[in-house]
């Protein structure tokens, strides 16, 4: 259990740091582009790079956001339930989440394979698309791990009680 937790935390925080760095790069890249544009020398392909980076920033932040409980939910009704019922619902919800992210991991990996095989690249910089799909697929896999650890933590909590 502790091993799973450590791995999940390690991956989440590492990805989050990567997301933070990338967000800073996005900010600086755009600022330089705007400045250079008014000097008559715009950076080519900023639009494409920003789109790719934007996707990866969200993907990188995904697992840590789930760890931190950042995603919106409605807890009005469940507040009135007993701890046991709450735990059952929580586990069911986590299983739904795992289901979605397992599917996404698989579908994005397949998408990455397709993009790799067809050699699809961006219009201006000719940057291949497939690393973004593979990157997001990996982020979804880490998200599955985080959701799984959540279930383990609930079970562990129940055992302690």
């Amino acid at each position: 259990m502790q091993g799973f937790l450590r791995v999940a935390r390690g991956f989440s925080s590492t990805l989050n740091v990567a997301g933070a760095l990338l967000l800073t790069v996005m900010m600086l890249l755009t600022v330089f582009d705007v400045i250079l544009r008014y000097l008559g020398r715009p950076l080519t392909g900023t639009f494409e790079l920003m789109s790719f980076a934007g996707a990866l920033v969200t993907g990188f932040a995904l697992a840590q956001s789930t760890f931190d409980g950042a995603h919106v939910n409605v807890d009005l009704v469940i507040q009135a339930l007993s701890a046991r019922k709450k735990a059952v619902l929580f586990i069911l919800n986590r299983l739904i989440g795992i289901g979605i992210f397992v599917l996404l991991t698989w579908a994005l990996f397949e998408k990455g394979n397709d993009l790799y095989k067809t050699g699809e690249v961006s219009l201006t910089l000719q940057v291949p698309y497939y690393p973004v799909a593979y990157g997001l697929s990996f982020c979804c896999l880490v998200e599955c791990l985080v959701l799984f650890v959540d279930i383990l933590q609930v079970r562990l909590g129940a055992e302690h009680e």
Binding site: N16, L23, M27, G54, A70, V74, L89
Partner: protein, 433 residues
Amino acid sequence: MSDVAFGLIALLILLALFLTGIELAFAMAAVGFVGFAMLNGFSVALSLLANDFLDSLASYGLTAIPLFVLMGQIAFNAGIAKRLYDTNHKFLGHIPGGLAVATVMGATVFKAICGSVVATSATFASVAIPEMERFGYSKKLATGIVATVGTLGVLLPPSITLIVFGILTQQSIGKLFMAGIVPGLIMSSFFILVILGWCKINPNLGPRSSRFSWQERWKSLPDVAWPIAIFLILIGGLMNGFFTPTEAGSIGAFAVLVLCMLKRDITFKGYVRSLREALRTACMVLLLIAFSAVLGHFIAVTNIPQAAADWILGLPLPKTVIIIIILLVYLLGGSFIDDLAFMILATPIFYPMILKMGYDPLWAGIMVACTVCIGSVIPPVAICVFVVKNITKESLGLIYRGVYPFLISMIACMVLLFLFPQLVTYLPVVLME
């Protein structure tokens, strides 16, 4: 079973899932995926899931969200709000209710660089409430105004709500920003009128605080001037097409960061904290958008938006009544679910109807944003009130007694915008066309 009936059952299941405490984004993806798979097959649904996720997250327009959130978080962590509040305190503190007015003015300027409703409420709860208490202000007035004032960020640019609405409805974010300025300032003025009127009726609510010399007042003005200057550069740049919303977000975040570093208002740790918060908030919003795209495609296949539009527009009701009903649905839905999440969920269904009835898309955006403003302070899910409660540890009952007069003024503002849509459309028309 018809596709519409199937879609409606799926939406009921979605609402039931919401009540189980599941993350709203996960529920949208699950219902959208399963529904689409049942109608079109598993492999098509799987491909839709991957494409919607990838295309939504890799959309250039959406990159504006993390950057504007970052700008707000840097401003939040640098303690800019405190300086803005202090300046307004020096100018207005000596009049009855002046510190509450200073809160509104400080928050209005702070909104020019921070689009987060929660960050504004949290900041002013820590900065303004202790100061108001020190000068003997009623807790009801102090907590009430702080809980309400954060909502201004939904209307005043750079509002995250308006960016999301613009992306969902494919409208110009610059025009939506322009459209939000007058309503935001009207709402801000209404708050000030409520404070002054309330303190006139009961002077004990907001006694006069100390008076500052003009020298002290002038000295504090630069603290207000530079956030306004950044705001004007961003809005001016967007308005004149000098840069895109994403570029505006980047320039704004960079300018706020550099200025805060020069003034030694932010440390490296503060910047890291800003990044972490920006990633959390942006990820939450973007995941909602990405997964609502999956749900939206499923709903589109079931033909619900068309059927709902035909049904509602076929009702023997004037279009004014229909639009009021739609806005009430936003208000009620947003009160039970998160307001932004409900807007993301409901807009693809209602927006085509609003357009069919001939309403101005900008006006529609601002009216929906007004429902989000009001939804942020009305129970059961009143995020701004909860933030103030958590920080001040006051009872919800007391905070609400302070919120009600401001809530009435928000409704009055919405009625005014309803009766005079030009208040919304005038500025974008004059400045951008």
